[in-house]
Symmetry: C2
Subunit: 356 residues, 2 copies
Amino acid sequence: MEELSERQKLILSVAIHEYVRTAAPVSSMHLVERYHLDMSSATVRNELSALTEMGYLRQPHTSAGRLPTEEGYRYFVGRLLQETNLPDNTRRTISHQFYQSRNDVDQWMRLAASVLAYQSHGASLVTAPHPARAVLKHLELISTRGKQVLLVLVMVGGEVRQRLITLTESVTQEQLSASADHLKRLFQGQDAGSLQALSSQLPALEAELTDWVVEELNDMDATVSGEIFLDGLTNVLAEPEFSGSDDARRAIRLLEERSMLQELLARTVLSTNAMNGVQVLIGGEGTSWDELRQCSIVLARYGTPGLATGTLGVLGPMRMPYGRTISVVRFLSGLLSDLVSETMEEELTNNSGEVN
Amino acid sequence: MEELSERQKLILSVAIHEYVRTAAPVSSMHLVERYHLDMSSATVRNELSALTEMGYLRQPHTSAGRLPTEEGYRYFVGRLLQETNLPDNTRRTISHQFYQSRNDVDQWMRLAASVLAYQSHGASLVTAPHPARAVLKHLELISTRGKQVLLVLVMVGGEVRQRLITLTESVTQEQLSASADHLKRLFQGQDAGSLQALSSQLPALEAELTDWVVEELNDMDATVSGEIFLDGLTNVLAEPEFSGSDDARRAIRLLEERSMLQELLARTVLSTNAMNGVQVLIGGEGTSWDELRQCSIVLARYGTPGLATGTLGVLGPMRMPYGRTISVVRFLSGLLSDLVSETMEEELTNNSGEVN
DNA sequence: GTTAGCACTCGAAGGCTTAGAGTGCTAAAC
DNA sequence: GTTTAGCACTCTAAGCCTTCGAGTGCTAAC
């Protein structure tokens, strides 16, 4: 792939910028006028022609203006987009909102999704922070009736999982409380693996309970996160390129399904090292979903690798203001990282010592 | 409002049925043929004309077929629709899915939303069961760092709420555990009101904690439910009457916002006594949202009034298979009621006695 | 009261024309 | 050799017209 001249880069940049702005094919004269280019429309036409030749632009039909190809966007995002930060007052507004919100992880996630959707005009997704390995901090057993017991697990990091389990034998709350106290002490700061080993040495009831706990912990390790917070799904529908087709509908449908998000987020885990945080998938590249052919996704992880991380991202049309979106995602990723590390770090580094 | 003749009722019924099926204005001849009516198209035409006169049908333009008006749907749902039950095998399939699902309230809600959306081809919403009055069953305090404490409340009924709070003074986990034990005993089976009264008689730390607990309980009483489970949002978009306009987009946007759901669900609480369970809002009647002008909502409460209840419903286009939708909603409402009462009833009737 | 027959209405669909936006090419200017 | 003015050419979008046919409402016969 040959190098573009500076002028070609400029023209590609403004062409993409203009197309993103207007959603209509851009013409040579338009660009010259609107961006005060120091050349004639004929020159621009020649360059546009060259860029089309190289596959960065295309024409809907012979005598129409140009619009970016997938490759064009990719070149733009990868090589032309200069880092821009979110305006100071926007950053302050957002921080302020988080500051005001209840000190509740769920609340943060909801807010993050909402801000992300609002700022990016796309559909946002945010997962709750998830420990690299589920480590137990606290355990409660609450009898509901007969053999049914509510199992509440509090993880290091503050995540809480509850589950209604059915035991083989009926037990009283007293027995449960005793077992809970015992297991609590044993399990403190352990993960699924070490618990499994313990199971065989325990009396029947406690062994059974242990199995349930292990299952739950494994489940937590396996799933990317318990809950995924979505917002702004309908923003995507408002985009002009989706009106009249139901491509957007199918893309949104995909977001509603867990399976896609699972794969998408798993992918992020793998390639985190690649960039300095924010990852851009253009035209659903790498994914196996045709529905995303016309969409792009901007993703980032947040949190502290090895301790606890989550993912947040935006799904929008390929014709997306990448600069803006990337800054928002980056900023929120940083903000959530701070929030998470503030609440988790200390706890995680000195966890296995003390007993509650 | 004069009474319709039997024949008019029949014709209105089949006209609505046909319109729901095809989404196109229905003509007199079509009805005669498809439903083997024992009369000529001219007769049907006369009756259609009469029904139009009465406001139950309308014509998009002079020489077009008929389609139901809002009033038409209302008459149909209120007086013509005979109760139909879900086919036996469908019922079994659904029950089976619930039987297989993890014994977890969240899981049930998710499944209910999914089934509802799938069966009704509309957007579904389900709220978690919510005690009439939030009553505390269990309480945990977990130190995270310095003044920050994770407060975990387990309610009678199994709902779990967690919140990160910041105390005025730094405390150790030992102090917290002691306080937790003490408060646990005191709070057992109490609601927000009775706790508030206790607050002043407690030492500083415990008083402060009590305030947080009270705030949280009040919050639970105030909001309809912590979480609302949505599914099938995009089903609505697929309906032909919404293609090309963004009315559906705005309706879905409304579902994404909590505020509308709050009002909608609050409304249900009020009018529950009216019908034997399932409530149908046609054309967004009673709501103040223009966005719903073209939509209908089928709602039902589930659970045991006075103990714990939740709401579930379907939002779809006004051109909706009401019979089918109502049966699905009714069936699921019954199913969830059973599940909820199985897990909560005993617990709620003898709650305040024992101490865990 | 019901129905056959028929004139009438109106929108959807297709074909045709036109306007204009935009290109590519050529030849002149720099 | 690069840039640019000029111009012929292309192609769509929009408007207009016509046609087609589905469907009605009315009237008169049954």
